[in-house]
C-alpha cells in the first residue's frame, strides 16, 4: 500500500500557482492517479489530452519514459470550467525526443495549467515544449516547466516557449521555467511573453470587412496555432483547435 497522499500546497514549486480551493475539494486518491506511458527504444507514442467539458476539477498526470531513440508527443487543450491541470513527468533516455504542445483557454476565475518535469537522463536527448494561453475574465493560465539535465547528459537540446494572450483586464498568466543543468555541453532555450490582441491588426481586419468577432477568432487561432504546429495529423490538429475555439466563441 502506498502512503496516504497529502494535499499539495502552494509551497510545493509545482503547485505554486494552482487553485488550492479547487484542489481541496478533490478526493485525495486523485493525486495518486498517474497514467504511465512507456515508449520502448526507437518507438513512438502520441498522446492527446483534452479537458474541455464538465464542471468538475480535473487533473491528468502522465508519467512517461521515452526509451533510447524513441519519441513521445503530448498535445493538449485545457478549456475546463473548473481547475484543469495536465502534468507530465518525462524521463528521456539517450537520443530520445519529447514534444509537448499545450493550449489553455477560458475565462471565469478558473486556473488552467500545464506542469512538466522533463529529465534528460542520458546524452543527446531533445525536448520541445510550446504552450499558448488565451484568457479573459479573472482566469489564470500557467506553464510551469522544469528541466533537469544530469551530469553526463551531454548534447541535450531542450526548448520551452510560452506566450500568453489576455483578452480582458483581470486575466493573468504565469510562466515559470526551472532549469537544473549539471552537464556543460547542452542547449536550453526558454522564452515567455504576454500581450494583448494587436489593435492595429484588428483595425486592419475591420477595414477589410471582418466583424470584430471574426477578426478576434482569426487572431486567436493564429496565436494558438503555434502550440499545434508539431502535430502532423491534420484532422487531430483541427479537432483540438476546434475545442479551443469553441470555448472562445462561447465567450463572444
Amino acid at each position: 500500500m502506498p502512503e496516504a497522499a497529502t494535499l499539495p500546497t502552494r509551497r510545493d514549486e509545482a503547485w505554486r500557482y494552482s487553485d488550492t480551493d479547487a484542489l481541496a475539494a478533490l478526493d485525495l486518491g486523485t493525486f495518486e492517479d498517474w497514467q504511465d506511458i512507456d515508449v520502448p527504444a526507437d518507438g513512438s507514442h502520441h498522446e492527446i489530452v483534452t479537458i474541455a467539458e464538465g464542471d468538475s476539477t480535473q487533473l491528468r498526470r502522465l508519467r512517461i519514459t521515452v526509451g533510447e531513440g524513441a519519441t513521445c508527443e503530448v498535445f493538449g487543450v485545457i478549456a475546463a470550467a473548473q481547475l484543469g491541470r495536465v502534468e507530465a513527468v518525462v524521463h528521456l533516455e539517450r537520443g530520445a525526443h519529447f514534444e509537448m504542445g499545450g493550449i489553455t483557454v477560458g475565462g471565469s476565475d478558473t486556473t488552467r495549467e500545464f506542469v512538466s518535469h522533463v529529465i534528460h537522463a542520458e546524452p543527446e536527448a531533445t525536448s520541445n515544449q510550446t504552450v499558448r494561453s488565451v484568457h479573459w475574465g479573472k482566469a489564470t493560465g500557467n506553464f510551469l516547466g522544469r528541466i533537469d539535465v544530469v551530469r553526463h547528459a551531454q548534447k541535450t537540446d531542450a526548448a520551452q516557449d510560452f506566450k500568453g494572450l489576455l483578452l480582458e483586464k483581470g486575466a493573468s498568466v504565469n510562466a515559470v521555467p526551472q532549469l537544473e543543468i549539471f552537464a556543460d555541453d547542452v542547449k536550453c532555450a526558454h522564452g515567455a511573453t504576454v500581450g494583448q490582441l494587436d489593435e492595429m491588426a484588428r483595425y486592419y481586419m475591420a477595414a477589410r470587412g471582418l466583424p470584430p468577432e471574426t477578426a478576434r477568432r482569426l487572431l486567436v487561432q493564429a496565436f494558438l496555432g503555434d502550440a499545434l504546429v508539431a502535430l502532423d495529423d491534420d484532422a487531430e490538429r483541427e479537432r483540438l483547435m476546434d475545442v479551443a475555439l469553441a470555448k472562445l466563441e462561447a465567450h463572444l
Binding site: 494587436d198 489593435e199 492595429m200 491588426a201 483595425y203 486592419y204 481586419m205 475591420a206 477595414a207 477589410r208 470587412g209 471582418l210 466583424p211 470584430p212 471574426t214 482569426l218 487572431l219 487561432q221 493564429a222 496565436f223 496555432g225 503555434d226
Partner: protein
C-alpha cells in the same frame, strides 16, 4: 458619392482636421496632396473609422448614408476600401484565408451569398495576375516578410478582390520603384476607373498621377482643403512646391 462637410477630428486630444470639406462624385479620381503632417493619413483613418480618431464635428455622406454612423467593418461592406500607408502584418493568418473571410463577411453584410473556396481562388488568381503577384505570395501570411513594395502591391490585390465602390489610397506609391509604380497605377485604373466608382488618391508624387490621371487635385494643409484644381495643379506643385502654390495664410508653419 462621398461628401465631406466641415469635418473636425482629434487624435490623442489634438485637433488634426480643422473643418475639412470635400466632395467626390461617382466616376472621379480625386488626388490629395499636401505637406507631411497636414492630416492626410488622419483623413483616411477618420473615413475608415479607426479607433482613437475622434470626429468632433461635421458630416460625411457616403452613397446616401451617414458614413460616421457605421462601424469600420460596415463601412467596408458598404463599399469603402482603405489602402494603408503602412499595411499591417498579421502573423499566422494567410492572405487567402484573410481575404476570403473578408470578402464573404462583406457579402454577408450586403445580403449576398458566400463564394466557395474554388470560386474565391479563381478570383484571387485573376486579381493577383493583374498586379503581377504570384499566387504563392497570397498563400503566405498577411504582409509578413513582404518588402515595402510588395505590401503596396498586395494592398491593390486586396482591392481587386474586394472590388470596392470607393477607395481611399494613402500613399500607395511610396516605396515603389518605377516599374512597380506603373503596375500599381495600372492596377488602380483597371479596378477603379469606372463611372460608378470613386477614388481619393493621396500622394506626394506626380509620377503616380502620370499613370492614374486624376480628374481633380486638392491641397490639404493644416487639416483643411485649401485649394482645388485640375490635373495642372499637381504639375505646378511639382515644379514650384507647396509654399509657392498655396496662399501664404495656408502654408504650414
Amino acid at each position: 458619392m462621398l461628401k465631406i462637410e466641415n469635418l473636425t477630428a482629434t487624435v490623442a486630444d489634438k485637433q488634426i482636421l480643422n473643418g475639412l470639406s470635400l466632395e467626390v462624385a461617382a466616376g472621379e479620381i480625386h488626388a490629395i496632396m499636401g505637406p507631411n503632417g497636414a492630416g492626410k493619413s488622419t483623413l483616411s483613418y477618420v473615413l475608415g473609422g479607426r479607433p482613437g480618431y475622434e470626429v468632433t464635428g461635421g458630416s460625411v455622406e457616403f452613397i446616401g448614408q451617414d458614413l460616421l454612423d457605421l462601424e469600420p467593418h460596415e463601412r467596408a461592406s458598404a463599399g469603402l476600401f482603405l489602402g494603408f500607408q503602412y499595411p499591417v502584418e498579421i502573423p499566422g493568418v494567410s492572405n487567402v484565408q484573410f481575404l476570403r473571410e473578408s470578402l464573404n463577411a462583406q457579402r454577408a453584410g450586403r445580403g449576398e451569398e458566400a463564394l466557395t473556396g474554388g470560386e474565391f481562388l479563381k478570383l484571387a488568381k485573376e486579381k493577383a495576375g493583374l498586379l503581377g503577384m504570384d499566387m504563392e505570395m497570397l498563400k503566405r501570411n498577411v504582409n509578413v516578410g513582404f518588402s515595402g513594395g510588395e505590401k503596396k502591391r498586395a494592398e491593390m490585390v486586396q482591392m481587386g478582390i474586394l472590388d470596392p465602390k470607393f477607395a481611399v489610397l494613402d500613399e500607395t506609391d511610396s516605396g515603389l520603384d518605377i516599374d512597380a509604380l506603373r503596375v500599381v497605377g495600372e492596377g488602380i485604373n483597371a479596378i477603379m476607373r469606372d463611372p460608378a466608382k470613386g477614388v481619393l488618391l493621396i500622394t506626394h508624387y506626380q509620377r503616380l498621377l502620370d499613370v492614374v490621371k486624376p480628374d481633380k487635385v486638392s491641397i490639404l494643409a493644416a487639416g483643411r482643403i485649401v485649394q482645388t484644381g485640375g490635373p495642372d495643379l499637381a504639375l505646378r506643385l511639382e515644379e514650384e512646391g507647396y509654399d509657392a502654390v498655396m496662399a501664404p495664410e495656408n502654408a504650414n508653419a
